[in-house]
Symmetry: C2
Subunit: 404 residues, 2 copies
């Protein structure tokens, strides 16, 4: 009789967004006249840029003609996209990353979930708290995280690194030694960042203890502060200890178009084995490439026109972030993030529970956000608002909060 | 110090297509005047159909307008596509499959590799021999296949079910009991099929011993014989024991466009746990949906125009299959498959080694095919030709073989 992977049964329900949806639906049913403003979700709302749309159309036309039709893509992704990324995202920032160290994928979520596969079964992971849930869940599915305690909302075999206002959202080096460290900066959900010097501390630590850093830089395009690194490869030694994951979702609005990439430098080794070889094997065995038309559109993001339009979209969202930050501050809230990231993380007033604050915002001000507790125990007492709404709604929401 | 998943190191090199490419390049360099015809690869060559192209363009336009822009897709895939598949691929064939039992993905390769994850570590798998390598490799990566013996080209803990002309390419029920059985029909690489009665034997067996059948039906659209089932759910009891994987690659030419789906019926359980819940969790954690524009294009395959154009493309390839079959037969070859599948499997003359026959075809007739040994030990002495070339080249290749 076949048996299932019982590790799946240990996973707690992922109630966060379904609970939010249920509460919003109940409120809307009871109050059909109230205009709800949604600042909870991390999904973009602006349409794809003109440069991307034009390239999608021309790539579709290529697929209509036998002489330009594209079948199976190369395993690693098309060379035109990999070499563009190597030049634009790395060489121009002084990072040495070769085109064949870049693996094109269908997005950062797939990569950040699948990357766990290339490590040993008894790998010990460290994560920041609060955290994007995929890092922990994918390792839980592989049976590495011990048991889940619903009281503490923590797994027995995961090293948690709290990020709170007490440590300025800069995680401390863990006391126990991890094998793999997940870092996401600019951070989801807190919207905070590390300076290059702060990130170098982590690279040095990983090199010292022999750990690998999985660096999720999905929000890199939102960085404007010069002291904040766009890539972990800006730090000395990172080629020997870090994998970097990037996304087209938030810079170019590809959440529903799907494109991302992962960098595995050839200097990152366990004994004689390059992790690059393992990921190449995984990619070649369980993935068959991102669609040609979408890889072509991804390259259009790096054209002069594409860059200009992407910058305009980011400026639009970051203006929302500014409106939210300033609105909350003038209303007396303690606010973090939102400067180099599209997320604003606020301290709930008078240490209100984050779900109670959710109910208050929904029921009194008709605003939907995300309770910090949904991202981990250290998120309790915090709340996330996102800059991905429309400028008009964002303004109205802040007026409601200021006048409350 | 971090450790890698050492199971990856046990994998033999995947030399098949790289060896072929190298041999072809060497020949071309030495003989630049010879016109090589490639009938080796399983990739389509006809452009996307008009219905698909038009829907791609209109879906791209939707992504250009804020009011119709699509961000993150639903985890399972868009309802419009799932319900179309439920109706067209299942209800119309008398199979009871609900829309919410269908999981849209980026293709059958990802699904057939990732599906192994939801089973226990000590799962014992059975595969046909020859076989599509992803089934075995993905389980080898999970450490379930024992050790690889380069002499026999077999793993110590895999149950192999030879499919040769001696058993009419119908696998026999295994003597040892497997937990998971991989079946691919119409078969890659042999191009052979099972009748509904023959497949029912497997469903009955799986129900009796408590095994799960992973049924890869990627080539379903090429079936024309009425006794050959298009879905395993045409067999009684399959909802309790079978997962079915489908692809848009070969019917609609989506090899470079990427779309597929997997059916996990809610009646398929281990104790009280539905495999459906596990796959939904896997899908929701490590995948973020197929692109909207491509799901929209997938639905266009099922419109009246789309169906007509798809049938025409399949007829074109199946005419090539007929030309290859008849050409080989008239040249005295023993030929299998190619009736309900785009693959023709031939017995090498005088039990020639399949790589020797490869060299003969390349060096003497300038034709590239695939040696059967590349698909497993029971593929030795066989050779695969595919119907995906142009009609003209296919004809010329057969003339060369007939005149040899």
């Amino acid at each position: 009789m076949f048996k299932i992977n019982e590790n799946y049964l240990k996973l707690p329900g992922s109630y966060l967004f379904s609970t939010i949806a249920k509460k919003v639906a109940e409120f809307t049913d009871a109050n059909p006249d109230k205009e709800i403003i949604r600042l909870g979700i991390g999904d973009v709302t602006l349409p794809l840029s003109k440069a991307v749309i034009e390239r999608l159309h021309s790539a579709v036309d290529e697929m209509a003609d036998q002489s330009t039709f594209k079948g199976y893509a190369p395993d690693l992704g098309y060379e035109f996209l990999r070499s563009t990324i190597a030049k634009e995202d790395y060489e121009k920032r002084g990072c040495q990353i070769a085109a064949d160290e870049i693996f094109i994928s269908d997005g950062a979520k797939s990569d950040s979930g699948n990357i766990a596969e290339i490590f040993a079964d008894d790998t010990r992971i460290a994560v920041t708290d609060p955290v994007y849930p995929v890092y922990v869940d994918s390792n839980a599915m592989a049976g590495r995280t011990g048991d889940y305690d619903p009281q503490t909302e923590m797994w027995s075999n995961v090293i948690y690194m709290p990020c709170t206002k007490e440590n300025d959202f800069v995680p401390e080096l863990p006391k126990e030694t991890p094998d793999v460290i997940y870092l996401c900066f600019p951070n989801n959900p807190t919207g905070t960042t590390l300076t290059k010097e702060q990130l170098q501390v982590w690279v040095d630590y990983a090199l010292k203890v022999g750990a690998v850093i999985i660096y999720d830089a999905a929000y890199e395009a939102y960085i404007s502060s010069p002291e904040v690194p766009h890539s972990i490869y800006e730090c000395a030694g990172a080629r020997e200890c870090a994998i970097e994951i990037r996304s087209f979702s938030k810079n170019a609005g590809f959440t529903g178009t799907r494109l991302g990439f992962t960098v595995v430098p050839k200097d990152l080794k366990c004994g004689d084995t390059m992790l690059h070889s393992l990921w190449a094997r995984r990619h070649g065995t369980k993935f068959n490439g991102a669609p040609y038309i979408i890889q072509a559109a991804g390259a259009a993001v790096y054209t002069d026109e594409g860059k200009k339009q992407t910058r305009e979209q980011i400026a639009y969202y970051m203006n929302n972030a500014k409106v939210i930050r300033e609105g909350l501050i003038s209303a007396g809230y303690e606010v973090f993030g939102g400067v180099d990231a599209p997320y604003i993380w606020l301290k709930t007033p008078e240490n209100m529970k984050s779900w109670d604050f959710f109910d208050y915002l929904l029921n009194e001000l008709y605003i939907v956000g995300t309770p910090g507790a949904g991202f981990g125990p250290s998120g309790e007492g915090y709340f996330r608002l996102t800059a991905f709404g429309s400028a008009e709604n964002t303004k109205i929401a802040m007026e409601r909060i200021k006048n409350a």
